[in-house]
């Protein structure tokens, strides 16, 4: 049944992308700095966000993201517009085409407005994600209804999978998929209340890992089924699962993430032996990294080179799945995998092949995973 459907489904190609982060304003700029081991994470003393010093990857307050007057747009919307604008520049995609859809991914969008404004109906409307999506859509002149994904820390990967499926179904030919989140008191205080923040640059999969860093950023990936992009990297498959176990703690076994990985590989028509690179979620919390290691072991992926980019970007929430996917596709293009900054000493009970220095090689297929609150897991396969 699945095999028959696959014949009719078009392949989905990556047309262009952008990463806008404290590390750089373009994908190339980010990758160039990442190769030099430059991290966006540092210590901040910002009384407006936290009474304590904290580690995070934040934009400097004075940066301007747009060349135009940004007065009407919040920082969240400016990040989306700047990231989408850069990605579109290289793409040749017609945003006004009825066959082009805009997909926005965010966990908290404009929630920071609650911190400064008096709550009323006007503020409610300004915070609502559809307001931001409409502003961004109108800025570029999209003519179709934007799709908004808000599904905790898998939002970015889920947005890519949603785009892939919308294109496969033939409803659209092009998808512009953008994610962003901004770190303010609301989000930082929440992770503080969970005692989930590391008091240093985070250490994914390390024996001394002690929590995550938060990060700001935006990422955009443009997909198309147009065969003129046939030489580009493809989105080959994806899948989502739920732990059905706990709303704020990961699965005890990793079976559910492993199931999403299995289905994503089946969707891509490849097996574990075909995966050359894993971009893990790797938040550097004790339980997340252990669960992921268990899932990769169940999937037969323990020998595959793996990294987590959280030591460079922090956890960029609704942008993370996009930013980390884009870095991985850049690794495939440049035949160079980045190390896991912060990792020194194996700290999970299942074996993993964690990259701790720049690793050259030919990487044909990459698996990107994410997991989050609500028991959600997602896996997507990119391939040449």
């Amino acid at each position: 049944m699945k095999g028959l459907n696959k014949i009719a489904e078009p392949e989905v190609f990556v047309v262009a992308d952008n990463i806008l982060s404290p590390i750089g304003k373009t994908t190339a700029g980010n990758f160039s700095n990442l190769k030099q081991n430059i991290s966006g994470v540092k210590q901040y003393h910002k009384a407006g966000i936290s009474s304590q010093p904290f580690y995070a990857s934040l934009f400097d307050g004075e940066e301007s993201f747009l060349k135009i007057d940004a007065g009407n747009y919040t920082k969240f919307e400016q990040l989306l517009i700047a990231s989408i604008g850069d990605a579109l520049q290289h793409s040749g995609i017609n945003v006004a085409d009825k066959k082009t859809v805009l997909i926005i991914s965010s966990t908290k969008g404009n929630i920071s407005l609650l911190e400064t404004g008096e709550y009323n109906d006007a503020l409610r409307k300004r915070i609502a994600l559809p307001t931001s999506a409409k502003l961004v859509s109108e800025y570029f002149g999209f003519t179709t209804q934007p799709v908004i994904v808000s599904n905790a820390c898998i939002s970015g990967v889920l947005a890519i999978i949603t785009g892939m499926r919308l294109l496969r179904s033939g409803q659209y030919e092009n998808a512009v998929i953008a994610g962003a989140d901004v770190i303010t008191k609301f989000i930082l205080s929440g992770f503080e209340s969970f005692q989930a923040l590391s008091p240093q640059i985070c250490k994914p999969f390390d024996s001394l890992r002690d929590g995550l860093n938060l990060g700001e950023g935006a990422g955009t990936i443009i997909l198309s089924t147009n065969k003129k992009y046939g030489q580009n990297i493809k989105v080959k498959g994806g899948s989502v699962s739920n732990d059905a176990n706990h709303i704020s703690g990961p699965s005890r076994t990793g079976e559910e993430l492993a199931y999403a990985i299995k289905k994503a590989m089946e969707d891509a028509v490849i097996s574990a032996g075909d995966i050359d690179l894993i971009s893990a979620h790797g938040t550097a919390t004790v339980y997340n990294d252990e669960m992921e290691a268990a899932a990769f072991a169940l999937s037969g992926l323990q020998a595959v080179p793996l990294n987590s980019l959280k030591g460079y970007y922090g956890h960029t929430l609704g942008a993370a799945g996009l930013i980390e996917s884009i870095v991985s596709t850049q690794s495939m293009k440049e035949s160079l995998v980045l190390p896991t900054l912060g990792f020194e000493d194996m700290g999970v009970t299942k074996p993993l092949n964690i990259c701790s220095e720049l690793l050259p090689g030919n990487f044909k297929n990459c698996l990107k995973t994410a997991s989050g609150f609500g028991g959600c897991n997602a896996a997507v396969v990119f391939g040449k």
């Binding site: 049944m1 699945k2 459907n5 966990t107 908290k108 969008g109 929630i111 609650l114 911190e115 709550y119 409610r124 915070i127 609502a128 994600l129 559809p130 209804q145 799709v147 908004i148 994904v149 808000s150 599904n151 905790a152 889920l158 949603t162 499926r165 919308l166 179904s169 409803q171 008191k185 609301f186 205080s189 929440g190 503080e192 209340s193 969970f194 899948s239 989502v240 699962s241 739920n242 732990d243 059905a244 176990n245 706990h246 709303i247 704020s248 559910e256 199931y259 289905k263 989050g372 609150f373 609500g374 028991g375 959600c376």
Partner: protein
């Protein structure tokens, strides 16, 4: 859009009224949202201690799913991974966001913070029913039945799922509405075709 899938059950909760498969099964218009939700919980003799720690969005979505699935759904027909949930709303988790942010003025509450994501209601329904399949939460200005039908039909037609709970769950202060649909591949007693038109018709039947 062509579809061969069926709405085998539906439940809406709106304006103090609970409607299951087109029939009013409970009404209580003399109280606020918190009182209304607990009166539903009691009326249907539900017993689930985790219910009391949920925020109002999760309570509303969870209650709607309980009534939707009761006597209408046989979990033995499916593996856990074959059942999924696709939901949407307009206000994300703003109802709980406001309460959480108020708590930060004293001591930030982790138990309120965990509900500051709209997909937590999906997690609560999955935990209750051991649903482990595909799921997604979308934010929409108004309920877009065509989009939901497209997403869910794709998941069913591609055999990614065999059954799906989908629909709308939205809460902001005293304003709320939930409309959930059980969509399966086989017809049942009283089932209707899972089309945009039938979905909209059930969604709007409670006004």
């Amino acid at each position: 859009m062509l579809t061969k899938n069926h709405i085998t059950a539906s439940c809406t909760i709106n304006n103090g009224v609970v409607i299951k498969d087109g029939v009013k099964v409970f009404e209580n218009t003399n109280t606020n949202l918190a009182g209304f939700l607990v009166s539903i919980y009691q009326h249907f003799h539900l017993n689930y201690p985790k219910y009391y720690k949920m925020d109002n969005l999760s309570k509303l979505g969870w209650l709607t799913a309980e009534i939707l699935l009761k006597d209408s759904f046989n979990p033995n027909n499916y593996q856990p991974e074959e059942i999924g949930i696709v939901l949407a709303n307009a206000n994300s988790s703003l109802d709980d966001d406001i309460k959480y942010f108020d708590s930060t003025k004293d001591i930030a509450s982790p138990s309120l913070f965990v509900y500051t994501l709209p997909n937590i209601v999906i997690g609560e329904i999955c935990i209750r029913n051991n649903f482990k399949g595909e799921h997604a939460f979308f934010i929409q200005d108004i309920f877009d039945a065509g989009f939901i039908a497209q997403q869910v039909n794709y998941l069913l037609d591609e055999n990614i799922l065999q059954a799906c709970v989908c629909g709308w769950a939205d809460v902001l202060e005293q304003n709320y509405k939930a409309a959930l649909f059980l969509v399966e591949k086989e017809k049942g007693d009283g089932s209707v075709l899972f089309s945009k038109e039938n979905t909209d018709s059930i969604f709007n039947n409670d006004q």
